[in-house]
């Protein structure tokens, strides 16, 4: 897919390079390296490094996923079984973790995108202390995820002395309800924390998008007497579509991989084990390498589904930039 969408860019770049080649013969010689090896050499270290450390482990995961390999039964290691995949799709606990991964990703991405859009529209106006508000909005994203999860679990959600219940007492007096947030609403608690963490990310991307709106088009709209709703509906939204897609897809890639929050807040209990956490647990506690690999492969299939769309969006932006 990357090849087909990117092809025009490639051709253009080559045409550009060809144009450059013409005027200066000595330069020309150095530039026109037919085998292209001198061009490839600077790329090779990074490329080889990446292939070794990302592609080979994945291939190994794929192979191990068809093996019966449990660390505690070293004599029963065997290749050529689909049992791991059967387990992945039939075990109710695993099905629940697949389901929660989807719910978590969709909820967090959609809500933080919507919040991010609203906040970026506010931040795009001029008002007193705009820079300060922008800085405040970025701050949650600069807390180490583990620290953020600890903060929410102990300082905010704690039923006895957490900030949330403390605020309830402060506002409604001693008879205020004091829910045990994580036990009563485990999934919501995790989602809320992640929305808090990811909204700044969405806001930043969407704000960059808003600020890249072509000024002359906006001017033309105001000259033609478009009101602010019309400008938003017919100019801002079409322009923002690509940035919303980009934020949504990048966010999905990152949120699908959420591990820290689940690990710290609930350790996968109360139905909050998502796929990355489950893989970790299968590997670490159960020491079932074959099953852990099969789970890993399922996560990858999810990610590829999202990534296909992401690649298309990025290549559109990329092609425009290089036009």
């Amino acid at each position: 897919m990357a090849t087909t969408t990117a092809a025009p860019v490639d051709a253009q770049a080559e045409a550009k390079a060809a144009k450059k080649k013409e005027p200066k013969p000595p330069f020309n010689e150095r530039w026109l390296d037919k085998k292209g090896w001198s061009r490839r050499v600077p790329l090779l270290p990074a490329l080889v490094f990446t292939i070794i450390l990302t592609q080979i482990p994945f291939v190994a995961t794929l192979i191990i996923s068809f093996m019966n390999w449990q660390a505690n039964y070293p004599n029963e290691i065997a290749f050529g079984t689909l049992n791991n995949y059967v387990t992945v799709f039939t075990d109710p606990a695993l099905r629940s973790s697949v389901f929660f991964t989807i719910v978590l990703t969709v909820t967090v991405v959609v809500v933080s995108l919507a919040l991010g859009l609203g906040i970026s529209l506010l931040l795009n106006r001029s008002f007193f202390g705009r820079g300060a508000v922008r800085t405040m909005m970025i701050t949650p994203f600069l807390i180490v995820p583990v620290a953020a999860a600890l903060l929410w679990k102990h300082a905010l959600y704690n039923p006895v002395y957490g900030l949330f219940n403390g605020m309830l007492t402060l506002i409604f007096g001693q008879n205020a309800p004091q829910p045990d947030w994580i036990t009563d609403f485990p999934r919501l608690a995790i989602e809320l924390q992640l929305i808090w963490y990811w909204t700044p990310f969405m806001t930043l991307i969407l704000l960059a998008g808003l600020q890249s709106r072509p000024g002359d088009v906006l001017e033309a709209a105001s000259v033609d007497g478009a009101n602010s709703w019309q400008t938003f509906r017919w100019i801002t939204m079409p322009h923002m579509r690509r940035y919303l897609e980009l934020g949504g897809l990048l966010g999905s890639i990152y949120v699908v991989q959420t591990f820290d929050t689940v690990y710290v807040m609930t350790a996968g209990s109360l139905g909050t084990a998502n796929l990355p956490y489950t893989v970790y647990e299968t590997l670490y506690s159960a020491q079932d390498y074959g099953l852990a690999s099969a789970q890993g492969v399922v996560v990858v299939i999810f990610s590829i589904a999202i990534a296909t769309f992401l690649l298309r969006t990025v290549s559109t932006l990329f092609a425009e930039e290089n036009r």
């Binding site: 994945f58 922008r134 960059a208």
Partner: protein, 300 residues
């Protein structure tokens, strides 16, 4: 720069900018005041947990865990002293140093590998440079759990478990695609004429890199480095799986931190603040380029 030579176009540009600003809706005053108030409220809501974290870290344990919260309790550094092992004797320095080693060295490796790669993808591109770019991007979409198990088994059989060098190599691979994409977007902005002139003057690859590219893109290198540093510092899954006592990083230390019972909220908040501090500093230093890095260079 152009002002001295041609004042008229710049004046025009100024006028244009003004009318653009008006067209963007920056003109309606009352709307702006309302937007400002709403934005301030939302901003405060979002930053409040962080503020509460820092405030609580400066309270004594009994004052940290009251209901309703005692915002105005006297401040103390007791939480920080406890975090640095005043009474337990467990020092957080080894994990903090491990994190620093893994993040800083992996970031240096990433930059050293990414600059030549970005050069081969923009200045003097290989034929299928877009394919190479999208290959790098696609590896970023491969979740860490996809390779976790072989990396674990490999380390287990070669005795690389709990080894900070292994972790920093993996962090290099983790951040390399981001750096390649960011560096390429910076390199692509350098005018081609500069490279042609350098080539005419007989400068080779190393010379061109050192004398032209690095000086021009050094702000870009700094931003890329800061973002790679943040990602490496934040990482938990790999660190938690591959390290334990010796090479455990700060996030791993944090997760094992909350085992004791009793009053510990100020200590937890102090720990969270200390561990987040490098990221907060790096993040604000790279603020302008943060979006570019997080969107892998797709948004400027």
């Amino acid at each position: 720069m152009t002002t001295a030579l041609a004042p008229e176009p710049s004046k025009l540009a100024n006028q244009r900018r003004k009318s653009n600003a008006k067209a963007r809706g920056l003109g309606s005053r009352r709307g702006n005041v309302i937007a400002g108030i709403v934005a301030w409220i939302i901003g405060i809501l979002f930053v409040f947990p962080v503020f509460f974290m820092v405030l609580t870290s400066l309270h004594s344990e009994p004052n940290a865990s009251t209901n309703p919260p005692s915002f105005f309790a006297p401040l103390t550094l007791q939480g920080y002293k406890e975090f640095f092992g005043a009474s337990s004797g467990a020092s957080p320095w080894p994990p903090l140093i491990n994190s620093a080693i893994a993040s800083i060295i992996s970031t240096i490796l990433v930059i050293v590998l990414a600059i030549p790669a970005a050069y081969a993808l923009s200045v003097r591109p290989i034929k299928k440079w877009t394919d190479a770019m999208f290959f790098f991007l696609s590896t970023k979409m491969l979740p860490a759990v996809a390779g976790l198990l072989p990396l674990y088994i490999f380390a287990k059989y070669l005795g690389l478990l709990d080894n900070i060098n292994y972790l920093l190599i993996l962090y290099t691979a983790m951040n390399l695609p981001i750096a390649v994409w960011m560096m390429r977007s910076f390199l692509a902005d350098i005018p081609v004429e500069l490279f042609e002139a350098a080539a005419v003057d007989g400068a080779g690859l190393i010379r061109t890199l050192r004398s032209i590219i690095v000086p021009i893109i050094s702000p870009g290198i700094a931003a890329t480095a800061l973002i790679c540093f943040i990602f490496a510092w934040n990482e938990l899954l790999l660190a938690n799986t591959l390290t334990s006592v010796v090479a455990g990083t700060a996030p791993v230390f944090l997760t094992s931190f909350v085992t004791s019972q009793g009053l510990f909220l100020a200590k937890v908040c102090a720990a969270a603040t200390v561990v987040s501090l490098p990221v907060i500093i790096a993040g604000f230093a790279a603020q302008d380029k943060l979006v570019q890095g997080l969107s892998l260079g797709a948004v400027k």
